[in-house]
Each structure stands twice: as structure tokens, then as C-alpha cells.
């Protein structure tokens, strides 16, 4: 079966102004809205569109994290994924570990494509997709803004510093999504009801044979140095004068 594996991470919603805890041990997440990482919503949307074009038969979503992540898996099922896999763990999971766990899911599901977000907006690492591709020994096309499947190949346009780069990759391959790849669909109420009946399989992370401890110790979280409000000027002339005074013109 031609299958696409999409990974989704539960993260603090992108509209939340994240604040550091006063004791520096992390950021405040109590009572904060959580959502699917925006790049992962785009990954899922792309997988669904590929399936809707008849180029894949099944879309499987996977997440790694605590029990609460089921909410985001249900949302993904409501968006249109066929099945969900929940790798259950309360441990803080860093990209190398996430990639190794996803590698196990790739073994289990044998997808033609694994689509991930280009970065999780909590850790901002931008590592997992590339690491998965390395562990799998398959191509990677990161920061994708356009994907075309042609038989056993894909042509992917990537957003790079120089502009837009196009790669051709053999399938199976890993793709990571950039924001302009697509605009994810909205979930409709009847779909939420239907999603409750879709299969959701839970796997204990510890049972997958991947060591979960992280190699990095996060010693201290701090708020960034604040920029303070400056002066207001009333017209272009005053603006130019102010810049001259600062030696900038």
C-alpha cells in the first residue's frame, strides 16, 4: 500500500506570547493553549492532497509525547488522516531521539514518503527530518514549498537563502515543509465526530528499543534582553534628523 507518514508535534500555540518561568527552569505552559505545530499541519495537508490526487492510498499521523497529545492526533484524524500512532512517553524528547523513534515507525509502516515540519516552533531545532533521512539512508528535501510526485520520484522546490532550489529525489524520501507549501484546511464539525471512530494505536516509547535520555542538559532559561520603546518623531524630516544625530545617515 502506498502510504505517507506525517509526524505532528504538540506545541504551544503560535499566537501565545511565551514567557520564561521566574525560576528559569523552563517556560510557562500551565493553562496555555496547545496546538499542532503549524509546519506539521502543512505536512498533513500536503499528504492529504497527494492522497486526494490518487498518488497515495493511506495517510498515517504519528506523534511522540505524553497522553495529552491524543488531542492533536484526533484533530489530525478530523483533518482527514486515516490512522494515528501515538508513541507514548513523558520524557522530554530531543530531535535525535524523535528521529530514532520515527525510524522505528518507518520500519513498521514502510511509507513512500515521510513528511515532517521544517521546525517545531517550541525548540526551533529544525533537525528531526534530516536526522530521520540519514538514519533511513534516504533522500531529504527540506523547506519544501512545492512537491510533485512523478511515479517513483518526487520533484521538490525548496526555499533556500539564494531563492528557490529544485531537487529530484527517488522515493521513499523525507520531506520537510515550509510555510508556503499550502494552506491547511479547516476541520469541520462532522469530521470531528467521524474522527472519534478512526483507529489510534498507542505504542509505549520504552518498548521500541530506543534509549530516551537526552544528551543535552538545559541549565537555565532566560527572557531575551528586552528592547525598550524609543522616541516618536512627527514627520520624515524629524526622522532623517534623528538618524543623522545617531550617525546613521
Amino acid at each position: 500500500m502506498k502510504r505517507i507518514l506525517v509526524s505532528i508535534k504538540r506545541v504551544v500555540d503560535y499566537n501565545v506570547r511565551v514567557r520564561v518561568k521566574p525560576d528559569g527552569s523552563g517556560v510557562i505552559t500551565d493553562g496555555v493553549k496547545m496546538s499542532i505545530n503549524p509546519f506539521d499541519e502543512i505536512a498533513l495537508e500536503e499528504a492529504l492532497r497527494i492522497k486526494e490526487k490518487g498518488l497515495a492510498e493511506e495517510v498515517v499521523v504519528a506523534t511522540i509525547g505524553p497522553a495529552d497529545c491524543q488531542q492533536q492526533l484526533r484533530t489530525a484524524l478530523a483533518m482527514g488522516a486515516d490512522r494515528a500512532l501515538h508513541v507514548l512517553t513523558d520524557a522530554a524528547i530531543e530531535p535525535p531521539v524523535a528521529a530514532k523513534l520515527l525510524r522505528k515507525l518507518v520500519d513498521k509502516e514502510q511509507p513512500i514518503l515521510a513528511i515532517l515540519g521544517k521546525q517545531a516552533i517550541d525548540d526551533d531545532c529544525s533537525q528531526t527530518g534530516q536526522m530521520l533521512a540519514a538514519l533511513w539512508g534516504r533522500p531529504q528535501a527540506t523547506f519544501a514549498s512545492k512537491v510533485e510526485i512523478n511515479g517513483d520520484k518526487a520533484s521538490v522546490t525548496r526555499e533556500v537563502d539564494a531563492g528557490l532550489e529544485t531537487l529530484e529525489v527517488d522515493l521513499p524520501a523525507v520531506i520537510t515543509t515550509d510555510l508556503r507549501l499550502n494552506e491547511p484546511r479547516y476541520v469541520k464539525l462532522p469530521d470531528i465526530m467521524k474522527a472519534k471512530k478512526k483507529p489510534l494505536e498507542t505504542l509505549e516509547a520504552a518498548s521500541l528499543g530506543v534509549p530516551l535520555q537526552s544528551a543535552l542538559q538545559l541549565l537555565k532559561f532566560e527572557a531575551p534582553a528586552a528592547r525598550s520603546r524609543g522616541v516618536m518623531v512627527k514627520d520624515a524630516q524629524e526622522l532623517v534628523d534623528a538618524l543623522k544625530k545617531k550617525g546613521l545617515l
Partner: protein, 317 residues
């Protein structure tokens, strides 16, 4: 003692200034031996430029026809081939480094730190998380090989050296995959200063309303000798090309002067300009969040103000 391998970024002819910024980050680690690796089809010119960066002790020139284009899948096994014996492997936090370095880290089975802003020691680093809303100090166990990308906006480029470092040719022994092929790259190559290194940046948002209207910003940029940037909203709407996007998912920049016209100041945009020396904001909404961080703010219509600034500057008033 630390031994640091830096993967050079280049376009086949010129060393990208991001590489000399990685050297600055490496120099912050006491007693580091700094080696730069140049992967190219013919890397002689780039290797010579890398050898002339102060702090570099040796350059490895790895020539191979497969290196004509920087493909992560092709380069990663070659970096992994060189990596044994090095305590750290650094690359820039550009799309080149972000694509390549995690693939290297996975091949080496090492952790990676993305976007290093400061190296406090060989094992302690600072990096941003949550779109720059938190700065985290991270400790790596001593003796662990570490891969990192260096946040270029946080470091000055290392200056030119008094004497050039030796260059050594290295043959590729790693097996290179053929499953990934370069097809094309389309970039709006321009004569304007590069957004990532420019001292001045003129940037526009959704308010510009069209690609045509964006021209007034190009005119002002030309008057100021500035690069042009854009918000994501402006890029999404097609007013500006994607390589001009500034912010969390675009370019992180640190110019002397950043002029934002018709940009509201969403957190994802501000992440990209936090290190700018002076931020100027022009917006018709006095409540726009960008004014909370602007050094100089002006409430008004950009379509009137932009040409006026250009006129005042070019007439020397």
C-alpha cells in the same frame, strides 16, 4: 583541547561570510584548533579564501564532481568521514547548514545544537527557543562530540589573517548516494547588498499592497545603499520574493539600521530583527506592536513618507 571542524559555505567561487562567523564562534572556545573543510567540485579558490581567515589553523580541500552542488545527502557522508578526532563540528545556521548539519549529526550519532548564539566554554552554549522568547543555556557532557549550527547574526566575521593557513587536499572515501539530484536554482540575483550582511535594510509589509508598490522601497534602498527585506505577509501575497523574508522562518539579520514600513510587528517577524542596532518603524496605526521595540517611530502613511525620506536623503537635507 578542542578540535573544531567547520563546514565552509560557498557558491563554488566565493566563501560565504557565514563561514568566518562560525570561525568567530569557534574562537570563543579556549585553545581551539580550528579546521575548515571546503567541499566543492574544484575548491582551490574557496580554500584559499578560507585559509586567509584569522584563527583558522588548517583548511581541508575536498574536491569531487558530486560536490558541484551542495546536497546534504551527498555532503553528509563526507563530513562524517572527516569528523573522527574532532570535538565539535560547526556549520552556519543558514539554509545550507540547517539542511546539512542534522544529517551529519545523525550519521555520527551525536547531539546537535541549532542556532548557537554564544559559546561560553567547550561544553556550554546559549541558544534561542520559542521564536527567541527564551534564551537557554545548554550543557553537553564532556567528551561528547557535538554538532552545531552557528547563528550568524550573533557573531562578527573573523578578520583576515596575517598569514594564510596551510591547505591540504583530502580524497573522498565515503560512499556517495545517487538518490538525490540537483535540478535548478532560481534566485533573484541583484546588484543590491545582500540581506544577510547589509548594514542597512529597508523592509516592507502587507501594507505595500502590490509588487508594483514595493518599488518605492527599492528606490529608497538604492538611495541608502540598503538591502530590501519583507514580512511573511508581503512574501505570501507575492509582493516580494521568498528570499527577502525576515523573521523566525526567514532570515535572522543584524544590520546597523532596519527600517520597517507597514509591518505590524508580529513576534515571528521581530525574532528576525532583534539584533539590529537601530530599528525605525513607520506605521499608520499608533498601536502597532512594532512601536514597542522601535528606537525611532513615526505614525503615518508610508506611501507619503517613503518618497519623502528618499528625497530628503538624496538632497542632503
Amino acid at each position: 583541547m578542542s578540535k573544531i571542524l567547520i563546514v565552509a559555505e560557498h557558491d563554488g567561487a566565493k566563501l560565504n561570510p557565514a563561514t568566518a562567523k562560525c570561525v568567530s564562534c569557534a574562537k570563543a572556545i579556549a585553545d581551539a584548533e580550528i579546521v575548515v573543510a571546503v567541499f566543492a567540485a574544484d575548491g582551490a579558490a574557496v580554500a584559499a579564501q578560507a585559509a586567509a581567515v584569522s584563527g583558522v589553523t588548517r583548511v581541508l580541500q575536498v574536491d569531487h564532481p558530486a560536490n558541484a552542488h551542495a546536497l546534504a545527502a551527498t555532503l553528509a557522508p563526507q563530513v562524517a568521514q572527516l569528523a573522527p578526532g574532532y570535538s565539535h563540528v560547526f556549520g552556519p545556521s543558514t539554509t545550507f547548514g540547517k539542511d546539512l548539519m542534522p544529517r551529519v549529526a545523525a550519521l555520527l550519532d551525536t547531539p546537535q545544537l541549532s542556532d548557537v548564539m554564544a559559546a561560553e566554554s567547550a561544553t556550554r552554549f546559549r541558544r534561542p527557543m520559542y521564536a527567541g522568547n527564551a534564551i537557554v543555556t545548554v550543557e553537553v557532557a564532556a567528551g561528547t562530540q557535538l554538532v552545531a549550527t552557528v547563528r550568524t547574526a550573533s557573531f562578527e566575521a573573523a578578520p583576515a589573517a596575517a598569514a594564510a593557513a596551510p591547505i591540504e587536499a583530502v580524497a573522498v572515501t565515503a560512499e556517495l548516494p545517487t538518490h538525490t539530484r540537483f535540478v535548478s536554482v532560481s534566485g533573484a540575483r541583484s546588484d543590491r547588498p545582500d540581506l544577510q550582511t547589509a548594514a542597512r535594510v529597508v523592509s516592507g509589509g502587507r501594507a505595500l499592497g502590490s509588487a508594483d508598490n514595493f518599488k518605492i522601497l527599492y528606490d529608497l534602498a538604492d538611495t541608502l545603499g540598503a538591502a530590501v527585506g519583507a514580512s511573511r505577509a508581503a512574501v505570501d501575497a507575492g509582493y516580494a520574493p521568498n528570499d527577502l523574508q525576515v523573521g523566525q522562518t526567514g532570515k535572522i539579520i543584524a544590520p546597523e539600521l532596519y527600517l520597517a514600513f507597514g509591518i505590524s510587528g508580529a513576534i515571528q517577524h521581530l525574532t528576525g530583527i532583534k539584533d539590529a542596532r537601530t530599528i525605525v518603524a513607520v506605521n499608520k496605526d499608533s498601536e502597532a506592536p512594532i512601536f514597542e521595540i522601535a528606537d525611532i517611530g513615526l505614525v503615518g502613511d508610508l506611501f507619503q513618507i517613503v518618497p519623502e525620506i528618499a528625497r530628503l536623503v538624496s538632497s542632503g537635507k
